[in-house]
């Protein structure tokens, strides 16, 4: 029985040691406030059919497990007039499942002591003449009356009403490694000016873009002859650290050019993006640590 007593005493000690570790871990690593994944994005706002709108714009946030507050309203500080509807289900989703209900979706996906939740926004712009709208700060209102100010990064809503006829888009392809290629038929002689986007500076180390074989920073003055093909190759490199990996990037830069009549036009380059899609508990923990949230 002596051996049994030893096993018993050491066992209890060990149980309480692990218990102390888990309790301390949970207390030390609790979030004070939900943490939203940052976004550096340009989003095209379409007319749909008589109002400009963006459907199912996703935001993801990490909160403590057991935080049952629901976001019921969102307001953007830089654009208080935007009308925003918020939901934990994609708008227009009419599916029915025996195995999932709304409260499951609101609980989010669990990773250790955190929950990763997704909200969907329908954004309406009731202004025909709107210029690019840049969003940095959002205020989220929860169903318990509390509010949260968040710096989301840089989100630029634009409407693409630029009409040009010198470059005819023929096709594009993209690959899961982050690379894409677009090709155009050059209808008239053009001279390239530059490639520009408000968030190009933010992502310049993470992307590579070649236009007609030139790096995008060296295209000024490049002449492209009519009836030839213009190839634009882009790649979004593998994110360097966990904060980049869990940040949304989507750049739609404008390629400015001048045609033979001396008129300046531009064409948007798409498919330069990185979206976090696979999450693990360890990475979420590292992400929160790197952002200084825990």
């Amino acid at each position: 029985m002596e051996l049994n007593k030893k096993i018993f005493s050491y066992g209890i000690f060990f149980i309480f040691l692990i218990l102390a570790f888990t309790v301390v871990f949970t207390l030390v690593n609790r979030l004070d406030e939900p943490v939203f994944l940052n976004m550096y994005m340009e989003e095209n706002i379409y007319k749909n059919p008589d109002i400009y709108s963006l459907d199912n714009f996703q935001l993801k946030y990490i909160t403590n497990i057991g935080d049952k507050r629901r976001i019921i309203d969102v307001y953007f500080k830089e654009a208080p007039d935007l009308q925003v509807d918020v939901s934990y289900n994609p708008f227009g989703f009419t599916g029915f499942s025996f195995f999932h209900n709304n409260s499951d979706i609101e609980l989010g996906d669990r990773y250790w002591i955190y929950s990763l939740k997704t909200i969907y926004l329908n954004i309406f712009i009731d202004d025909e003449e709107f210029e690019d709208i840049e969003i940095n700060e959002a205020v989220f209102k929860f169903d318990d009356g509390s509010t949260l100010d968040v710096n989301l990064g840089r989100i630029i809503f634009y409407k693409d009403d630029n009409i040009q006829e010198d470059l005819e888009h023929l096709g594009s392809s993209s690959s899961s490694d982050g690379s894409s290629r677009s090709f155009y038929n050059i209808k008239k002689d053009i001279r390239l000016i530059n490639l520009d986007s408000p968030i190009l500076e933010k992502v310049k180390d993470k992307i590579a873009i070649t236009i007609a074989g030139y790096d995008y920073s060296q295209i000024e003055g490049v002449l492209l002859e009519a009836n030839r093909r213009l190839y634009v190759n882009t790649i979004f490199k593998e994110p360097g650290d966990i904060v980049e990996k869990y940040t949304y990037y989507s750049v739609h830069p404008k390629l400015y050019y001048e045609n033979s009549e001396g008129e300046t036009f531009n064409v948007r380059i798409y498919n330069i993006h990185h979206y976090p899609f696979k999450f693990t508990a360890r990475e979420i923990y590292d992400y929160l640590k790197s952002r200084g949230e825990i």
Binding site: N4, G11, L19, T22, V23, Y111
Partner: protein
């Protein structure tokens, strides 16, 4: 002694297998703990071994815990929403249960030794060892799986804890049968 071990057997049965009639639980867990407490009390009265008294006290604590949790659930207060509190309660009371059964087996070893029932005493000693080691693994797995949400670990913990309850039922029945001729 027969009656004591018999009550322990049925008590373990009722805390392990919940019998529900629709949404109503016919025999809630606290009834099981009270039956175990009653059984251990019989063992104490017949043997006057203090270890049984300690085990009975722990059975009463576990019964009180089950009543409190049951009342809280009745008022829709779900303790599992509070991660730290839930982890503390589950781990501490699982350990209390482990100590209770350990003391029960320890008391049985003392009693069988005093009766010179070497074989039964030896068997109970082995049971205490197996039960303690497996419980420690089960409780630690449960604690870690509650916090870190590791599916495989929760399955392991659940499997160990169910097997242990069945193991204890078998052990109680074997001890009971020693006194079958009484």
């Amino acid at each position: 002694m027969y009656e004591g071990y018999n009550k322990v057997f049925w008590g373990i049965f009722f805390i392990t297998f919940h019998i529900n009639l629709g949404p109503v639980t016919i025999l809630p867990a606290f009834v099981g703990y009270l039956i175990i407490s009653k059984g251990i009390n019989i063992l104490y009265e017949e043997t006057e071994i203090d270890t049984f008294k300690k085990a009975q006290l722990l059975a009463n604590i576990l019964a009180a815990r089950s009543i409190i949790i049951g009342v809280m659930e009745l008022f829709s207060f779900n303790i599992s929403d509070l991660l730290i509190l839930n982890t503390l309660i589950v781990t501490v009371f699982s350990t209390v249960e482990m100590i209770m059964f350990y003391k029960l087996i320890e008391g049985s070893v003392e009693y069988f030794t005093s009766l010179n029932l070497e074989k039964a005493a030896h068997r109970n000693m082995g049971a205490a060892r197996f039960y303690t080691i497996a419980s420690i693994i089960g409780i630690i797995s449960m604690n870690l799986s509650l916090v870190f949400h590791i599916g495989r670990l929760s399955v392991l913990a659940l499997f160990i804890l169910i097997i242990l309850r069945i193991y204890l039922m078998v052990a109680a029945r074997r001890n009971r049968n020693i006194f079958a001729a009484e």
